[in-house]
């Protein structure tokens, strides 16, 4: 199902949570709403679910206006941050709930419900745990139950609020893959909220970045990472060295650091240089001279914290293969392959 959000606004008291947000979500897409806390991402998700009602703007499902339709009538699957499992019901009854509350002809028979529950338990790899109570499950298992419960109603859209926020790092990683697998298996349009950019970039087809109730950029993970629309996105997505300086005639300079800044107006500006966009340059080739202060291995790269001759801190990441050839305290010359410069 396609979802169209048009100029939606919502405030809590005097605090505006959403400030005219517009967003198009394609059928079968897996979209991440990414932003810091207080950016309005959860409010937007709840507005799509019908748990909050916007003060202005429209929300359309397949072109049909759903703005004032109740949550019960929207047929969305919502996975809550703390799962919100019904604590007095078994796992199986939790999953069956959405089918059991249906009325009249829409209500499936007991056998159908049972089949559906079995199927979903299998899908989320919890076979045999249908008789347990939520309090008897681990965090990761509860998360899977919440997911199965939301999927039971055959939702037109699956909405997840910080789905992995309450889990430890290893469980989080495996559940991320799980969510991708389940999304691909069911094909249901899925929107999830996260403050973790790594999670958003790894999992989503497209990422919508919010700040202060406004969408900053929408694009594929590669687009928002490599072509950030503004300084906020550049600083929030991926690691970057943030350097305050000045642009004069298409060149940004801050002490020793000089990078091209085509199209940026003269005056104060901020440059962002990603650690992997600093590369080793031949000594004497006119590169930027750095003194290494700390070297830490991070997976396939070595992370180097360094200082320029005039004392600016810079972080660089060099491939680990073959070693660095320098150590802490040594000088090394680097070239800035690419920088993103935004006028103040």
């Amino acid at each position: 199902m396609t979802i169209s959000i048009q100029s939606v606004a919502k405030s809590f008291g005097r605090f505006p949570a959403l400030n005219g947000v517009s967003l198009e979500i394609a059928d079968g897409e897996l979209l991440a709403l990414l932003g810091p806390s207080g950016s309005g991402k959860t409010t937007l998700l709840r507005a799509i679910a019908g748990l909050e009602f916007p003060e202005a703007g429209q929300i359309l499902f397949d072109g049909q206006d759903m703005t004032q339709v109740s949550a019960a009538a929207r047929r969305v699957g919502f996975v809550f941050q703390q799962y919100a499992l019904f604590r007095h019901m078994t796992v199986a009854r939790n999953i069956a709930f959405g089918l059991e509350v249906r009325k009249g002809a829409g209500k499936p028979s007991k056998a159908v419900i049972q089949d559906r529950v079995e199927h979903l338990l299998k899908l989320v790899e919890l076979e045999g745990l249908g008789g347990r109570y939520p309090s008897q499950l681990s965090g990761g298992q509860r998360q899977r139950v919440a997911l199965a419960r939301a999927l039971a109603v055959d939702p037109s859209v699956l909405l997840l609020d910080e789905p992995f926020g309450a889990l430890d790092a290893t469980v989080r990683k495996s559940l991320r893959k799980e969510l991708r697998r389940i999304h691909d298996a069911t094909g249901v349009t899925t929107i999830f909220v996260t403050h973790d950019q790594e999670e958003a970039l790894e999992l989503a087809d497209r990422v919508a970045i919010l700040n202060l109730g406004v969408i900053q950029q929408v694009g594929t993970p590669a687009e928002v990472h490599d072509a950030p629309a503004n300084a906020f996105v550049c600083g929030f997505v991926g690691e970057a060295n943030r350097i305050e300086g000045e642009v004069q005639a298409g060149r940004f300079s801050a002490g020793d650091i000089v990078v091209p800044a085509p199209g940026v107006a003269n005056g104060a500006a901020t440059a962002f240089i990603r650690p992997h966009e600093l590369t080793r340059a031949k000594t004497g080739a006119g590169g930027l001279r750095l003194t290494a202060e700390r070297i830490t291995p991070q997976g396939p790269v070595l992370h180097v914290e360094a200082r320029t001759a005039d004392g600016r801190r810079l972080e660089a990441a060099f491939a680990r293969a073959g070693g660095l050839g320098f150590g802490v305290g040594d000088q090394v010359e680097v070239a800035v392959e690419r920088a993103h410069v935004f006028g103040a």
Binding site: A72, F78, A84, H88, F97, V101, Y133, S135, R149
Partner: protein, 279 residues
């Protein structure tokens, strides 16, 4: 060597605190309770049973049970409504409502009784109208029930508000998002989550409803065999120097309270782990 928790007090201090506590309990709780039963049975079981079977006593027992039977369901329903409104919703005047719920705890029961006399009594606001229509509230069962409802109103609501606030609205929102109607959400999700707290509140409410003296005393009129509840009957007998009678009825009242407390303790033991899951 036994494991000693870091926050443990020296043994002497512990023993001292326990001794003070035990002495205090014995003096203000156990001794008076024992006295009640001792005085009731001073002349043997026969006179005690006789006193309880006296027609006026039987009528007082009936009236007390009827009053509790009216008060408790009424306050259970309104307590759930009030707690639900306060815990699950945001609205202007919420803190005022919470204060209002607590009012019966802070107002003297005598004042509560007087309020009803002022409103419904012969010289009260609705007095003439009620007399014209031959409706009796003061010096009759409706007045006694009203006064008792007023005094015991906070018990259920006070028990439920913190419980419902702690549980939050997530489960209700989940139920609604899964297509459940408001009523279905209440019966399937909210009610099962508060049933133990509700029972607990109901038992406390019941204990107090049966024992209420002050407010009922003002509105009842002390008509023997008609508008006397058990606590009022105890007072009358005592004032007439019928100590065995007074203490026998008092012992019965104590017995009802003890049964209530025993039920409450039983509930605490039976209460399953599902009420507060770990995260």
């Amino acid at each position: 060597m036994s494991r000693r928790p870091a926050n443990a007090e020296p043994a002497l201090v512990q023993a001292g605190v326990l001794a003070v506590m035990a002495a205090f309990l014995a003096l203000v709780l156990i001794l008076p309770m024992a006295t009640v039963f001792y005085e009731a049975l001073r002349k043997g079981l026969g006179p005690a049973l006789e006193a309880v079977q006296n027609p006026d006593a039987v009528s007082a027992i009936k009236l007390t049970l009827i009053t509790a039977a009216i008060t408790v369901p009424f306050n259970a329903v309104f307590g759930v409504c009030a707690a639900w409104a306060v815990a699950k919703h945001e609205f202007p005047g919420k803190s005022f409502l919470i204060t209002l719920i607590d009012l019966p705890f802070s107002v003297s029961p005598v004042v509560a009784g007087l309020i009803y006399v002022l409103i419904f009594g012969a010289q009260g606001w609705f007095g003439e109208w009620l007399i014209d229509h031959d409706i009796k509230i003061i010096f009759a069962l409706p007045g006694i029930a009203l006064a008792t409802i007023f005094v015991t109103f906070p018990f259920v609501a006070r028990e439920l508000i913190p419980l419902m606030q702690e549980q939050g609205v997530d489960e209700e929102e989940a139920a609604v998002s899964l297509g459940a109607s408001g009523l279905r959400t209440f019966w399937s999700v909210t009610a099962p989550n508060i049933r133990w707290g509700l029972l607990y509140g109901v038992l406390l409410c019941n204990a107090r409803a049966m024992g209420e003296f002050g407010a009922v005393s003002v509105v009842s009129g002390h008509i023997r065999g008609l508008t006397n509840t058990m606590p009022l009957h105890v007072e009358i007998l005592y004032n007439e120097y019928d100590f065995v009678g007074a203490f026998s009825v008092a012992a019965l009242l104590c017995g009802l309270a003890i049964v209530t407390l025993a039920l409450k303790t039983l509930l605490e033991i039976l209460q399953p782990q599902t009420r507060r899951p770990g995260h």
